[in-house]
Subunit: 405 residues, 2 copies
């Protein structure tokens, strides 16, 4: 196998969210037990933008962006100056630290685009990058794609409830061993837990002590459940040039179809990211950029209502999953993921995921995508039609019983 | 300078098309001669989508794409299956060889997105990649970004008129020296010349003999001027697994604001490209993909009229440039670029480009972006308002006289 072949083998997307349509059904029939369970199919691999509609005014903002023509179609590679001005102010207010609209913010094609550019800007071949396990599945792939070396840091999320559970001594070991970058999502994807203020302060302290850059993916940081607070790393005692924050309106705001994300903070990294964006995709879609005018400017009460509806789904799903013997699940504090660890089954999780899709019309993402410690878990994005989601999890619970070892 | 710093220094975008707004004016005043020339500013660094509007129905197709919600927002990474079906058929008819909608086509964020993925899928660190000089400026940057080694092949476009002028013996030398990939644009960007049928057959023959992969960027292959014909490499005697063709509706169709491109052909490369796209940007913007339904399905006569209007601008610009003493220019056969070589001036081309912008309101791209043999040239995208473009080139001709050595 040549070098490129090996590189791409590591990027397999067969089990990636939303790509299940490309899976073959080969070999599955031999494993099946019992009948198909009827019900509305639910695709928990990503949020359902039919159940939770894009923010009001998004389409109108897009239309208004098409009207000006060239000015909006051909922005600077880092995005429209006027829109960056607007966002810098709102995001500074949200995150509690200033942002330079001119030098310190880039608009990207989704937060995925921002993550790709951020890792490329900080990690080259042979560099060590600390990432959390479990965390967003693309983090590992990004680090490996650039030939960098992954230094895992464990999240002991099951052993704790007042903090995310990051193993800080492992993080310090990673820095001590030469890792110059720490990449993590907060709230954590897939677990939905928030790093406590003390954890964020510790991360900032360690990064400062070892001169490391921290990339924090805050995609879900607006969707906080009742009683939860959130500490923004960039608002703490950090060198602003060593912190890059990534956000976007694809999840809470259901604007994924417009492909928008932003990264802000370190001007040194933003500068590199723009240069790379120029050869990766030129810019975030010009007309789509106009949709960002609606971001952090939603109608009064819109966010509170969206949170309330998600919290209600969360609670009902936990009520179904809670009683399943030997299933472990931590209640998410933010975002729309649940990451239950299944009881021991008679089939491997990977196969059970295919069975869920086949016999219950339930699509989930296998835990293996998120790291080697999560082989027995599955991730569900519960930003779905409430009733259909509860029924689907009911069917999943039935199949867990049917396939229990 | 560390490795990453050096890598990003090579990706400088200071003179890249559309990025002039970030240039500083420092040091320019000392060089200026005479007064400012008044007239409507024209930005020849890219086409003006106000002068040539997006294809009819594009916005309506986008709107109709937003309506279905999830299905269009979250497509497979390689793009919507139904849209790939549609495109595979139309592009097969256009290029003269079959395309597998399921395995052999990917929708990308612009043709830039396709080029990035294509180079990543074929060239790793230390691999040799043959590229043409002059050619699209990002080709060099892409090859260098992946740590591959650029093997230049000269285009002798001034010495010939019935063919593009590729130095085929240099291409064979490149393959003989180990280059496994040949990347070129046809029609050539920046010169606007078309490779002859004989040249395409020779390229195919050499690639076959040396087992090389050919990536051909056919972005402008629909906009052919009167009396010109076009040979599609993929329709010739080639191993279809060794050819990747890239196209998109950003130029002729003025749809750049939607960020759409496609790559088709080699299933092995499409497969790698999809895996990489999953971590680069997930997918081309979901709603935008719906705009591709209008592509190759424009109203009767639309393309012919667009060609006629561009040809008229081309001819009028050449009529202004032709009489300028010692300026060399070849009439473009396709696309909307002119690439004149300026007479010797008293200031370097790079500075003259800044002077053009300052004293004449004329923005052009310096030839240095396209390769080391083009330092004395400038590129103009003449997809502009006809009258304003002719006047602007008149001002540019005046300034050439003013700054002539």
């Amino acid at each position: 196998m040549d070098t490129l072949e090996a590189k791409y083998a590591k990027l397999a997307t067969d089990n990636a969210p939303g790509q299940e349509v490309r899976q073959s059904a080969s070999g599955l029939s031999d494993l099946l037990r019992g009948e198909t369970l009827l019900g509305t199919p639910v695709d928990f691999s990503h949020g359902d933008v039919d159940a939770f509609l894009p923010t009001p005014g998004a389409f109108e903002a897009f239309s208004a962006g098409v009207a000006p023509g060239s000015g909006q179609a051909y922005t600077e590679y880092r995005g429209s100056g006027a829109i960056r001005e607007m966002l810098a102010e709102r995001l500074a207010a949200f995150t509690g630290a200033p942002i330079s609209a001119d030098q310190g913010l880039i608009i990207t094609p989704g937060t995925q685009g921002a993550l790709f550019l951020a890792v490329a800007a900080t990690a080259g071949a042979g560099d060590k990058v600390a990432i959390v396990q479990p965390d967003y599945f693309a983090n590992r792939k990004l680090v490996e794609f650039f030939g960098a070396i992954l230094v895992p840091v464990t999240l002991n999320y099951h052993q704790t409830s007042d903090q995310a559970g990051l193993d800080l001594s492992q993080l310090e070991d990673a820095f001590r061993s030469g890792a110059k970058v720490f990449l993590f999502s907060n709230p954590n994807n897939p677990v939905g837990v928030i790093y406590s203020e003390a954890e964020i302060a510790e991360i900032a302290g360690l990064a400062g002590r070892y001169g490391a850059t921290v990339i924090v993916d805050q995609l879900y940081s607006r969707l906080l459940y009742e009683g939860r607070s959130y500490a923004h790393l960039r608002a703490g005692r950090v060198d602003p040039e060593n912190v890059l924050t990534i956000m976007g309106p694809s999840k809470t705001e259901s604007l994924s179809g417009y492909r928008l994300g932003v990264a802000f903070g370190s001007t040194r990294l933003i500068d590199r990211m723009e240069k790379l964006q120029a050869i990766v995709s030129l810019r975030a879609p010009g007309y789509s950029q106009a949709v960002l005018k609606t971001w952090f400017a939603e109608p009064e009460g819109w966010l509170a209502e969206r949170i309330r509806l998600h919290q209600a789904i969360r609670d009902d799903l936990l009520a179904v999953l809670g009683p399943v013997p030997r299933l472990e699940v931590r209640s998410p504090e933010a975002g729309s993921y649940i990451f239950p660890k299944l009881p021991e089954l008679a089939v491997p999780t990977q196969d059970f995921v295919r069975i869920l899709r086949r016999q219950a019309g339930v699509t989930v993402t296998p835990g293996a995508e998120f790291g080697p410690h999560s082989l027995g878990s599955i991730r569900l994005n519960f930003s779905q039609d409430h009733r259909a989601a509860v029924a689907a999890i009911g069917r999943a619970a039935d199949l867990i019983e049917r396939y229990r070892r």
